[in-house]
Symmetry: C2
Subunit: 232 residues, 2 copies
DNA sequence: CGACCGCCATTGGTCTGACCATACGTCAGT
DNA sequence: ACTGACGTATGGTCAGACCAATGGCGGTCG
């Protein structure tokens, strides 16, 4: 058993068993090291591993605000994880498309039943901004924002996090593929038309229509985007 | 900028830019440290962070098989990540249910169109084993195995990894909830009946039926399981 | 008496240097 | 040509030192 794994297991066990909850403060690194009979650097490596998973957060200084604290900030960690593995080509483009279809059908349907007036207003704003966008550099982040916003409106934290992670992991590849397109303006116009319809379905509170339109939208986009190559 | 973040960014950038691909070997820790002008311990912390995300893998010794190598072994990392955050109560049980519904509708539908004779045989085996299971300790892992197996049969690596991660993150909580049930044998019989039907739909190659049955199955289970409390 | 200011303790962040464990490569000896 | 011992490269680990940030405590001044 490697020393840093000992520390990792110790902290993980504390979390899984409920001894640590969000907000708990871990013992100081030096103390944890002597407790476990290992060096401080090994403890730090374990802390770093968990920190990169959004489970811990460290703060220097003295007093109650300092020390290493248990958090649960998964979104960034999940996004980074997926982005790296997508970039490494672990997932074929078809698989990612199917996953997006499954997830976003769900978020679109949930959004249809949860959307507040405020949420609809924000969605409408993005839809209009996309229609005004001239360049790929302008359009692409808005498009991502549209899908992420729907996931957020669905008020389902897990689906929202997963959707955001998958979509953001594809931001770069999609932008690159768009740049290779012959008739990008036409492609964009088609997407905007679909965005309008999805928005209308959500506004109308029609989950089935929203899900179907979303599925069609995603499949349509990938059937045209030249995503061929190692990068999905 | 913290020193270990410098190393983290350097390595990540190398991966996202394509300079490193799966199988690439990173420079030795000592060399990377001098290259970046930081200490070796900082380099190690960055490596550890990426290793915990299934992106790197270290091996001691000399020769071509040694050193820190780029991999893409996400499954374990993803499972650990979700398990920890589920345990920390970041995700309400209803959210997890909806996410499972979205993901497993997809995997059930895909499995219906991809199932080989061998895959069907393995599924049948699990279904029969579940019907023979007497105790919760016996049944619970088989149940997880059934859902994971369907995800695998779908031949979609991303959906499969996500399904497995979500399902395995719930293994402990589900087992605990089952133990609190009054009429567990009756509950189990109901599940087995549904498992049979899902299997039949996959065997028949009917994606829509498989998806609907899967959704009903998941919602039914959670409507009965006493999952109340912080632990979803 | 109260407010302010500066020292000090605590805690993470980092570096250095050392040594260990492991595995491969090489070279001498058979 | 085979074999075994030794050297070397690499990650794994530790000890110790110092830095940086931060908050608390106590003393001093108004």
């Amino acid at each position: 058993m490697k020393a840093y794994e000992l520390a990792l297991d110790h902290i993980e066990e504390g979390i899984l068993s409920g001894r640590y909850e969000v907000g708990s403060i871990l013992p100081p690194e030096r103390e944890l090291a002597t407790q476990l009979g290992i060096g401080r650097s090994s403890v730090r490596e374990a802390i770093r591993a968990l920190e990169s998973q959004g489970v811990l957060d460290s703060a220097v200084g003295a007093g109650p605000a300092s020390g290493t604290r248990v958090t649960s900030d998964q979104s960034r960690a999940l996004t980074r994880l997926l982005k790296l593995h997508v970039s490494l080509g672990k997932y074929p483009v078809d698989d990612v498309v199917e996953a997006r279809v499954s997830l976003e059908r769900g978020s679109a349907a949930l959004a249809s039943t949860h959307a507040t007036a405020d949420a609809l207003a924000r969605l409408a704003e993005v839809v209009e901004a996309m229609e005004a966008a001239e360049s790929i550099a302008e359009f692409s982040p808005l498009d991502t924002g549209f899908h992420v916003l729907i996931a957020e409106v669905s008020e389902n934290t897990l689906i929202s996090d997963l959707t955001r992670a998958v979509r953001e992991a594809l931001l770069q590849p999609i932008a690159r593929a768009s740049a290779r397109m012959a008739d990008w303006p036409g492609f964009r116009d088609g997407l905007n038309e679909q965005h309008r319809r999805i928005f209308a379905a959500i506004q109308a509170g029609d989950p089935d229509a929203a899900a179907d339109l979303m599925e069609h939208h995603i499949r349509h986009a990938y059937s045209i985007l030249p995503m061929n190559g190692a990068m999905p």
